[in-house]
């Protein structure tokens, strides 16, 4: 089923049919891509890592075999080879980093890492009054599983970084020896600095950004992945309680709908997942289509005040989103201005529950999202519209095509062709669209059948996650959900990016 049809047959189709074909093909090919990911992409990834490690091993091996005693000493005492050969600054830096590392491990890192397998066993005790001595025995501070986990990850990262430094040390020490043997001048400290501003400039530029990435993105993500395998929840909260490893229990609990220590989830997960995907598709395409149509209308020859129309729409981008969304939640309230006006005009007797009835709320949210999103598309599309070759329209007109037909056979396919990357980012952004849902309905109204883990009918996975963490403190389950979200996003975007690469060449359009 997932074999593509032949090139010839593909070219026979009209642009719209091509789009429809690509669309269905995309969904049909998801399972295949999924298998492909585990069969091809993942092994290739590990193979690359293995090759890098192997390469490093070979370098170290040569250094050990051919190195003189100075180089060999630097295997243990970092920077020795460089220091002994007169590269004082470089050698000193290596030596200092080794001392700092040992200091860190002895004073702090090792004790945390040792507790990592158990995540701590010492429960805190309150102080008690000792009558014999007539004094309070201070309370015992227990282990804090959370901090142990966090510090352990930190220590692991430090170790990885240190191993990398050590490797660089061996490499540079051996390089210094080779240079000396070849009777060439060793680079001095100022040469090093010059090199860092030129040949090695990327290291200078990227050091700080990558440090930020490591601490503020990678460390938390690793933490989150680990938490998914613990029973960290409302009944296991540090510092008064410990939590522990539980293997895959959280995954099992989520899919069976039975989560211990909290309200039963029932089918909440499945329902929310379904709505999240429907939402992402509808939200993305509604903004996209309406945005294009509006842009076409504004761009049309003979329409005046183009700038005015654009400016009005762009207001939404300029005003901070949370303000407009909070305002919208008031406007669409049961006692909000829309209901009041409709009542005053005598169009309705009872308030329309724009945000408090599940199904109506979903529609309202999609409309509000269009209000937020259409200007972005309009703005982006305006420039591209002018790039569509005029003769395409001309020939369509001669063939007697009306505006609707022109739109579907020329404008839309061209747009889809050019703006696929934009659509992908929009789609992924909508999967994780926290603001619109949270500020409008807060995910509500609640699902009716009590056993839903606090999930509301308009909740996306991301807002549900927020509730699970903030209100219910089910950290373990929440981590599992975010891992699942990651897999969904990753698979969808990988597949989409591949598709968009495949259709990149210009000839494919038309």
């Amino acid at each position: 089923m997932t074999e593509r049809i032949s090139e010839l047959e593909y070219l026979k189709k009209t642009a719209l049919q091509k789009f429809a074909y690509n669309f269905t093909y995309f969904f049909k090919s998801i399972p295949q891509k999924f298998i492909g990911f585990f069969k091809a992409v993942l092994p290739a990834f590990f193979l690359r890592i293995w090759l890098v490690i192997k390469g490093a091993g070979v370098t170290v091996g040569t250094a050990a075999k051919n190195g003189d005693w100075k180089t060999r000493v630097s295997f243990g005492v970092m920077g020795f080879s460089q220091l002994a050969r007169g590269q004082i600054v470089r050698g000193a830096l290596f030596l200092l980093s080794e001392i700092a590392f040992i200091f860190y491990m002895v004073c702090f890192g090792w004790s945390q890492l040792a507790l990592f397998p158990s995540l701590g066993y010492q429960l805190p005790e309150r102080g008690h009054y000792d009558e014999a001595t007539g004094a309070w025995v201070p309370q015992v501070l227990g282990h804090n599983s959370q901090l142990i986990l966090l510090y352990s990850i930190l220590t692991m990262l430090v170790i990885v970084f240190f191993v990398f430094l050590w490797y660089e040390n061996v490499k540079s020490g051996y390089a210094a020896q080779e240079l000396q043997e070849a009777r060439r001048k060793l680079p001095t400290a100022s040469d090093d600095v010059k090199e860092l501003l030129d040949g090695q400039y990327h290291k200078t530029l990227l050091a700080l950004p990558l440090l930020g990435l490591l601490v503020f993105t990678i460390l938390p993500i690793i933490f989150m992945i680990f938490v998914a395998f613990t029973n960290y929840d409302v009944n296991h909260q540090p510092p008064m309680q410990l939590f522990d490893w539980v293997g895959f229990d959280n995954f099992a609990a989520l899919f069976s709908g039975k989560v211990s220590g909290a309200a039963n989830f029932g089918n909440a997960f499945g329902r929310i997942l379904l709505w999240t995907i429907i939402w992402a598709v509808v939200a993305t395409f509604s903004c996209y289509l309406v945005g294009i149509i509006v842009a076409i209308m504004i761009n049309k020859k003979g329409i005046r005040f183009k700038k005015l129309w654009r400016t009005i729409l762009i207001m939404t981008i300029a005003v901070p989103q949370f303000i407009s969304l909070l305002l919208m939640s008031q406007i669409f309230d049961n006692e909000g201005i829309i209901n009041i006006m409709l009542k005053n005009w005598g169009w309705i007797d009872k308030s329309i529950p724009f945000l408090s009835d599940g199904n109506i709320a979903k529609i309202t949210i999609i409309f509000v999202n269009m209000w937020v999103g259409v200007p972005f598309t309009m703005l982006m599309v305006t420039g591209i519209l002018m790039n569509i070759p005029e003769d395409l329209y001309e020939s369509a007109r001669i063939d007697g095509a009306g505006p609707v037909k022109t739109f579907f056979t020329i404008t839309l396919p061209y747009m889809l062709h050019v703006t696929t990357p934009y659509l992908i980012t929009q789609f992924i952004g909508n999967l994780n669209n926290f603001n619109v849902i949270y500020l409008l309905t807060g995910g509500g109204p609640l699902m009716s059948e009590g056993a839903s883990g606090g999930a509301g009918q308009t909740d996306l996975l991301i807002t549900w996650l927020y509730k699970l963490i903030m209100d219910q403190k089910l950290y373990g389950i929440a981590s599992v959900i975010s891992i699942i979200m990651f897999i969904i996003t990753a698979v969808i975007s990988l597949v989409l990016y591949n598709r968009s690469n495949a259709v990149k060449n210009e000839e494919d359009f038309m």
Partner: protein, 289 residues
Amino acid sequence: MAKKLRSKKAAERTTNAVIYIILIVISVIWLFPFFFLILQSLRGEPGLTPGYFWPKKITFDNYIKLFTDKTPFDFWRWYGTTLTISVVVTIIQTTITLVTSYALSRLRFKMRKPLMNLMLVLGMFPGFMSMTALYFLLKLMKLTQDFGIVGLILVYVGSSCMGYYISKGFFDTIPRSLDEAARIDGASRHVVFLKIILPLAKPIIIYTILTSFMAPWGEFMFASLIFSGNTKYFNVAVGLREMLQRENAPKYFTRFCAGAVVISLPITILFFLLQRYYVEGVTGGSVKG
């Protein structure tokens, strides 16, 4: 022939008329919330939305009270907090983004491709799931509550290198022959970056400044976590939402509207002044594959 032309012209006129009507309807829909916001901020009568549209009494009281009434909501302080965060974040984030995208666009090193892939993958994790871990990390460094501003800045700035995409796209379009000519003249890569690329990158620098300046004004999720419960430390987003919480809403709704206007005005003006660069950034970044 002439008749046919005239009928064609008439048809054209009707389409245009229809389009005008649609555009006017759209404009009304798009402007209505802002109009409503301004009206409500001038409303003299207290309470949530009253049963009518036009306020009975127009007054600037809400604006005056917003700045003079320090309890329970110290708006001045919120404003100061947010402005500080915004300015610092703008400076650091712009630097990091430019530096990263220059390195990824112009320099060639072994880890370039893997690094870009890594950032792509990292971007797919639901951002705030890492919030809890980050929160404890900041708590360890005592950067919540009293020093929450520092903590927030660190968080906003921390992963800004992941936003390299758009400016890298821009750097890619600057012809490489410029660099090469300078390098032949003996300029180091550092000099090339500072003296040749940066001056050419003005549009994208302004775009980066604009977006990173605007973002902290609307940031809500993390700020509410870091300042949890302590109203005086809030940034404007968390503060204004606090005004609309259940028990506050009837009393402070009009003041919320005034606050919203006060915040939106400078940002909107700034945005319209620099709009050209924004459009360039958005169009450039989103169509390149």
